[in-house]
Amino acid sequence: MKRKTNIVLTGVGGQGVITAANILGKATVNAEMNVYASEVHGMAQRGGSVICSIRIGDVSGPLVASGTADAIISTEPIEALRYIQYASKKTKVITDINPIIPFTVAVGGEKYPNLDEVFKEIKSRAKLYKIDAMKIARDSGAIITKNIVMLGALAAAEILPFRYNILLDTILDNVPKKYRKINEKAFRGGMDSIQSI
């Protein structure tokens, strides 16, 4: 087993990135391993770009150094590229393919880039895994489970130093009873999407 596991979670404020980071941290404690995580709160949450990091194992602080992430999990494609400084050639970048267009494009005259070019650049710097997390979430019963789909994808990507069912059990422990089925479906959907690549 590796001494340190560094995971970066990114996306847009309001997509459940912080919730996903929190659940992943709790799962690590359930797996009886050391963990530090860093989150963004406050102003950055109002639709802004969000980054959280989770470090597992023999680590003393929560921030991931540039070029040392084992995985970058992104709920939005350009947000995966925005934080590419944390990736090396070995890093697995798992991203949802559905853009969320920032308002700066509509009103500020900025441009949302061509996605093929975005994916091409990520590919040139890391290992890219694209999934349609939005569709999987919708098919599971609620689009707000997109973050759980991403955790499922992470669990299947052979990054975590513990078994996937610890993560799944932690998710189910942390959602209201009536939403458990939807969340399990979303998680397994995320896992399948990686295993079928």
């Binding site: 929560p62 070029g67 925005r82 920032p102 700066t104 689009i143």
Partner: protein, 624 residues
């Protein structure tokens, strides 16, 4: 609710802020007060959540917690608890301590009785703040013992032990955190909860009245206390020299979260070094520092923001006639700006020592990405108010703004934020502009900000008849920091029913003659309200009332009510761009063929856009 129910010895994952709350509970905290502010908010929110949880379970909280009206009042209430022999905690963001500083500076003379911890949550890089002031200066400025945690576990322990140190010294103690501690999660080992004291008793003492003759005595006492504090600092388990690798002539002095970066940097660089990890940073453990200075040829100081450790270490080295070389900000190896990260610290240390940095330099992406700054949420009622204001106001109108979500009105296309200093500054600035220019001013503040510090400038405006329009954006919550209650809500921080104070009643009591209350979701009427306010000669107040859409939708989801979404009829749309170019709700977007759509994932269903479309092309879609 593990944070209160978890058994001693158990390890749970907590946010740095939650760990502080747990530490206070483990020390039997009696009174906790705050005014919310990122990155400190979750300390208080955790007290609030615990109180509500216990209430729900039919159990009584054995502490008093409150979201006070502002930081100064929060500090005064907790200080009174301490004078009564109780243990107290006050938490706030760094700029909050500016508000509380009038009370603080003399409180540090008077000293406390029960242990009192004051938490200042600093925000290097201004993640959610208007400046990145280094509040360690307050400890030096006023004479407060200070602790700086590096990890959530340490934050818990420092809160617990800090309360004892404060009680022992009879001196309020500062715990200084930074965003990367407040919002870091880590494993916390629980200890048992100490009993609280119930009611205290205030013993009268003429030395508690700081007239000049008392103050002169108290200043002397303060210096004596800090001498005793230095002895505690020498023995504190929070200060230690950690040797990594073989004995070395290289020393590294660090505190707070920087220690984490230093430790991994030394490991990654595979160097030998002695790390002086400082947890109690005021007063510094002089003997421990001198021991390090004596045993080293080179000392590297790693601290974010101001060179506070660096300057003190240099003075010590000078007094010792030491030839040790001290590296830090003055040698240009470290910056006084922003926050550090593993790369910055590893790179600077590698350059000083002359070894290769194994961490790759952060390299940016080649494609140009659109920026994604925070914005007013889709459905935010402030957007409708701002849209109406823009319709009503003449060219060159100045919009002084304030601290809260509504600051985000700064972004295009609204552009309704021209000047911002601090909490409550909007109205004072508007008054100043009315005496200095012929331009119209319409200023904005939230309801929580109004209660915090927005009332005195309104009284100033009335007394001097300043010709201003002051807007209170009343969404019945302190939204930006996480929806805390305030005097305008009918419940308090412990979930108990509370007397609601109406903004319009207060301004009436201040003597304002022109007051209008409007619901911004009626955009046409709200525009007229602002027009009338502008026509009035003298101070006019507009209270724009509509609940935060996030709270409203949360309540809808809870009660099973549907949240609608809206769509654009493409046949009716004439592409005038009012929705995007003037209203600017982030749910609108251009498709590749330049047609305009509403993103169902983002739309919060307020329906305000239906009113602003001149061609009647927006209507309710199916329910989600």
């Amino acid at each position: 609710m593990e944070i209160i129910e978890g058994k001693p010895g158990k390890t749970i994952l907590l946010l740095g802020n939650e760990a502080i709350t747990r530490g206070a509970l483990e020390a039997g905290i009696d009174v906790a007060t705050t005014y919310p502010g990122t990155p400190s908010s979750e300390i208080a929110d955790t007290f609030s959540a615990i109180a509500k949880y216990l209430k729900k379970k039919g159990r009584k909280s054995n502490f008093h917690f409150e979201y006070s009206i502002n930081e100064k009042v929060a500090l005064e209430i907790a200080a009174a608890a301490s004078f009564s022999g109780l243990r107290a905690l006050t938490c706030m963001k760094h700029v909050g301590l500016n508000v509380a500083s009038d009370a603080l500076m003399t409180y540090l003379y008077v000293g406390c009785k029960g242990g009192h911890i004051i938490i200042t949550a600093d925000d290097p890089y201004c993640h959610s703040s208007q400046n990145e002031q280094d509040n360690r200066y307050f400890a030096l400025f006023g004479g407060a013992p200070m602790l700086e945690p590096a990890t959530p576990q340490e934050a818990k322990e420092m809160t617990r032990i800090g309360l004892r140190i404060s009680e022992e010294l009879k001196q309020p103690l500062l715990i200084r955190t930074t965003t990367r501690l407040n919002h870091a999660r880590g494993p916390i080992t629980l200890r048992k909860l100490e009993k609280t004291r119930g009611k205290g008793y205030f013993e009268k003492d003429p030395m508690l009245v700081t007239v000049p003759s008392t103050a002169r005595v108290k200043h002397h006492d303060l210096l004596k206390k800090m001498e005793r504090a230095e002895k505690i600092s020498e023995k504190s388990r929070f200060n230690e020299i950690i040797t990594i690798g073989k004995t070395s002539k290289i020393g590294i002095v660090t505190s707070g979260v920087s220690f984490n970066y230093v430790k991994e940097a030394v490991e990654d660089l595979k160097i030998n070094a002695k790390i002086l990890k400082l947890g109690m940073t005021n007063p510094l453990p002089r003997k421990m520092c001198e021991k390090l200075i004596k045993s080293c040829k080179e000392i590297i100081i790693v601290e974010e923001l101001e060179p506070i450790l660096e300057n003190q270490l240099k003075v010590m080295a000078y007094d010792m006639n030491s030839s040790v070389k001290i590296f830090g900000k003055s040698t240009g190896h470290f910056s006084r700006l922003y926050e550090y990260n593993p790369y910055i610290v590893t790179d600077a240390i590698s350059k000083i020592i002359g070894v290769k940095n194994p961490i790759s330099k952060p390299t940016s992406y080649k494609i140009k990405l659109p920026s994604r700054p925070p914005a007013l949420c889709p459905g935010c009622p402030h957007r409708a108010t701002y849209f109406a204001v823009k319709k009503a106001s003449p060219k060159n109108t100045v919009y002084p703004t304030d601290i809260g979500c509504y600051t985000l009105g700064k972004e295009p296309p609204l552009n309704v934020a021209d000047l911002l200093l601090c909490m409550g500054s909007n109205a004072g600035i508007a008054c100043g502009l009315s005496v200095s220019t012929d331009q119209k001013s319409i200023s904005f503040m939230g309801d929580s900000t109004f209660f915090h510090s927005g009332i005195p400038p309104i009284i100033d405006a009335v007394h001097h008849n300043h010709d201003v329009v002051i807007t209170i954006l009343d969404n019945r919550t302190t939204a930006m920091t996480g929806h805390q209650p305030h005097p305008g809500t009918d419940f308090d921080g412990m979930g108990r029913p509370a007397k609601r104070i109406h903004v319009e009643d207060v301004v009436k009591g201040c003597g304002v003659e022109h007051i209008e209350v409007t619901n911004p979701s009626d955009i046409k009427e709200t525009t007229l309200v602002f027009k009338r306010a502008l026509e009035f000669k003298g101070p006019a107040i507009v209270v724009s009332k509509s609940p935060c859409i996030l709270l409203e939708n949360r309540a809808k989801r809870k009660t099973g009510k549907k949240i609608p979404t809206y769509e654009i009829n493409q046949d009716k749309c004439k592409h005038c761009k009012t929705c995007i170019g003037q209203f600017g709700c982030p749910a609108f977007y251009y498709a590749e063929d330049e047609s305009i759509h509403i993103d169902e994932y983002q739309c919060n269903g307020c329906g305000d856009c239906v009113q602003i479309c001149p061609f009647d092309s927006i209507s309710k879609k199916e329910e989600k």
